[in-house]
């Protein structure tokens, strides 16, 4: 199998994810975009692991999956808290603190 295809797929996913994080205004959608980036990373890692015959990449991917779940748990809790306090998860409305 060819490595390039996997890398291109990962790069495409990465770009979609970055676009989503920057352009989306819905808190949950931004979280999903971050997940896309993490999946791009996983594809990269597993493809490289298969290519270089070292298992480290697959172990890395497992850690990424497990930790991403913990991250999303915290993230959803925060989004929920915002929803409870202001009945909206539109990120443009979260602007009390101006930088």
């Amino acid at each position: 199998m060819v490595l390039n295809q996997f890398l291109l797929l990962a790069a495409a996913l990465f770009c979609i994810g970055v676009y989503g994080v920057l352009a989306r205004r819905n808190g949950v959608m931004v979280l999903m975009s971050v997940e896309l980036i993490l999946n791009a990373v996983n594809i990269n890692l597993v493809a490289f692991a298969a290519f270089t015959n070292s298992i480290a990449g697959e172990v890395f991917a497992l850690f990424v999956i497990a930790i991403a779940a913990a991250e999303v748990g915290v993230g959803l809790a925060i989004v929920l808290l915002i929803y409870r306090n202001r009945k909206s998860i539109d990120l443009t409305e979260v602007d009390l603190l101006k930088g």
Partner: protein, 499 residues
């Protein structure tokens, strides 16, 4: 491939329990705090912060015995290293964690917040920091980074019903997660180039004759991920908002420990992993350092809120800490020494400044610059120590800060390149700009009249006094006897790995 791995006989790794003792003690105490919370529920509130403090002091013991022993310990095939560098950083993290516990004791207890979990999370986060100082492998760096970040996302949101605290947490969370995702993408390419996650192997694979585009991309992505963590311009915009909205002790923790953890990982990656590719990382870090110093200081000038001012000043200070890395390829381990020196002194003076802000806010209940007017008339002691911390941050002798700035400038000039000298000039100009707003705050405290002529004294609890004493003592000590710092910060990353 999996069949190959399965065919190998498993040898259980030899574990050096002495080297891992700090982590084991910290994790045990974090678990103990949660266990006590589960068993006692609200009854545990009275002693849980004291127990967290004891846990941190207990962690110092194995760090000290390891320091006295002095041998470099390499575990897990080079993935986990306990050497001088990691011990100095571990001690710094644990001590600043202790100061944060002291700062939090009354703040969290009086605010009707969930208390037991707070300290459990704090210890978990500190475990991540203690781990990251030893991690010399992409996987352990990543796991340690997330272990230290995820609890802080929750701590920043700790005032559940306060929309501003929610917002602070959300901004920090989104930036943090995005940054770590970008960093991971860079790391996956590093792994692809080297076929190994060990930093030493990556150092060999990356340091070829020519610069390949994939390595450039990987290095830049990884550095950008950490630039978010240390709040370097242009990746700083979460910092002021998060600092303002989060509970102030958490802000102190973020601005010192969390930032330092980002630097520790960055130092290890640059000095061990990317070292030979100085044509890639030096320009990136140069731009980050110069932009952080300048933009941070200029924006700090026009802040109305002390915490926001400290946030931008923290951005500028991060620029100073990045500066030696921008010439790391020329001066080698001297860059590590300069950055570590700066980190140690910065930790003491910044925690001290936040301790005063917390103490004064107990009376004024606000963090605007105006609320500091005339503090000398009702809180002369606090005003004196705050002036000391501010002058130290500005780099005026005999307080610690001058030696930090001196170490950085000396490292930049030692590099003997045009880039280094220009950066040194930028740094010097910025020190002068910084003097203006640090001095302005000090002037308000001494010269202005207190608002409404309210001169009731501030009641400062014992734990805050202890934190102030610790920070002030260290700031003064570092300034008067800079040998002490240089003795401790004389560490190296390159030699321990034979790179």
């Amino acid at each position: 491939m999996i069949a190959q791995v399965l065919a190998q006989a498993f040898e259980s790794p030899t574990i050096d329990y002495h080297a891992l003792a700090p982590e084991i003690v910290l994790v045990s105490f974090a678990a103990l705090l949660i266990l006590l919370d589960v068993v006692l529920l609200e009854k545990g509130r009275t002693f849980i912060s004291a127990l967290a403090g004891i846990g941190l002091l207990a962690t110092m013991l194995p760090i000290l015995t390891l320091a006295i022993d002095g041998t470099d310990r390499v575990m897990f095939g080079g993935a986990y290293v306990v050497d001088d560098f990691s011990l100095v950083m571990k001690a710094m993290f644990v001590l600043s964690g202790y100061v944060v516990v002291l700062l939090s004791t009354n703040y969290i207890a009086e605010g009707d917040y969930w208390e037991n979990e707070y300290y459990g999370l704090l210890l978990a986060s500190l475990t991540g920091m203690v781990m990251i100082s030893s991690a010399r492998d992409l996987i352990s760096i990543f796991v340690a980074l997330e272990l230290l970040s995820i609890p802080v996302y929750m701590m920043a949101t700790w005032r559940k019903r306060d929309i501003r605290s929610n917002e602070a947490g959300l901004k920090y969370y989104l930036m943090g997660v995005f940054a770590s995702a970008v960093m991971l993408y860079g790391m996956s390419m590093l792994y692809g180039t080297a076929g190994s996650t060990l930093l030493v192997d990556i150092g060999e694979a990356v340091g070829g004759e020519e610069t390949t585009s994939i390595v450039t991309l990987a290095v830049i992505f990884t550095i950008i991920g950490f630039a978010f963590k240390v709040s370097a311009v242009p990746f700083h915009y979460w910092a002021p908002d998060t600092y303002e909205g989060a509970p102030t002790p958490v802000t102190a923790y973020l601005s010192v420990a969390s930032k330092a953890a980002g630097f520790v990982a960055l130092l290890q990656l640059v000095m061990v992993g990317f070292y030979a590719r100085d044509d890639v990382y030096e320009p990136v870090l140069w731009i980050l350092a110069a932009a952080s110093m300048t933009v941070g200081n200029l924006l700090a000038l026009r802040q109305e809120n002390v915490v926001r001012m400290m946030a931008y000043s923290g951005v500028a200070q991060a620029g100073f800490m990045l500066a030696p890395l921008a010439v790391a390829g020329k001066i080698g381990d001297d860059a590590v020494v300069a950055t570590v020196t700066y980190l140690l002194i910065y930790a003491a003076m910044n925690l001290g400044a936040f301790a005063v802000i917390i103490a004064l806010a107990r009376k004024t209940g606000s963090a605007t610059l105006d609320s500091f007017n005339g503090a000398f008339h009702y809180a002369p002691g606090l005003t004196v120590v705050m002036t000391m911390f501010l002058f130290s941050l500005a780099g005026i002798p005999p307080f610690g800060g001058w030696f930090a700035k001196f170490a950085v400038l000396a490292a930049l000039i030692d590099a003997n390149t045009a880039a280094g000298v220009v950066l040194a000039v930028v740094a010097a100009v910025n020190s002068v700009i910084a003097l203006y707003y640090y001095g302005g705050l000090a002037r308000r405290m001494w010269a202005e009249e207190a608002p409404d002529g309210d001169l009731t004294p501030v009641r400062v609890p014992v734990s805050l006094v202890a934190a102030l004493g610790l920070a002030a003592g260290l700031t003064l000590l570092f300034g008067v006897f800079p040998n002490l710092v240089s003795e401790v910060s004389d560490v190296s990353l390159i030699s321990t790995l034979g790179g």
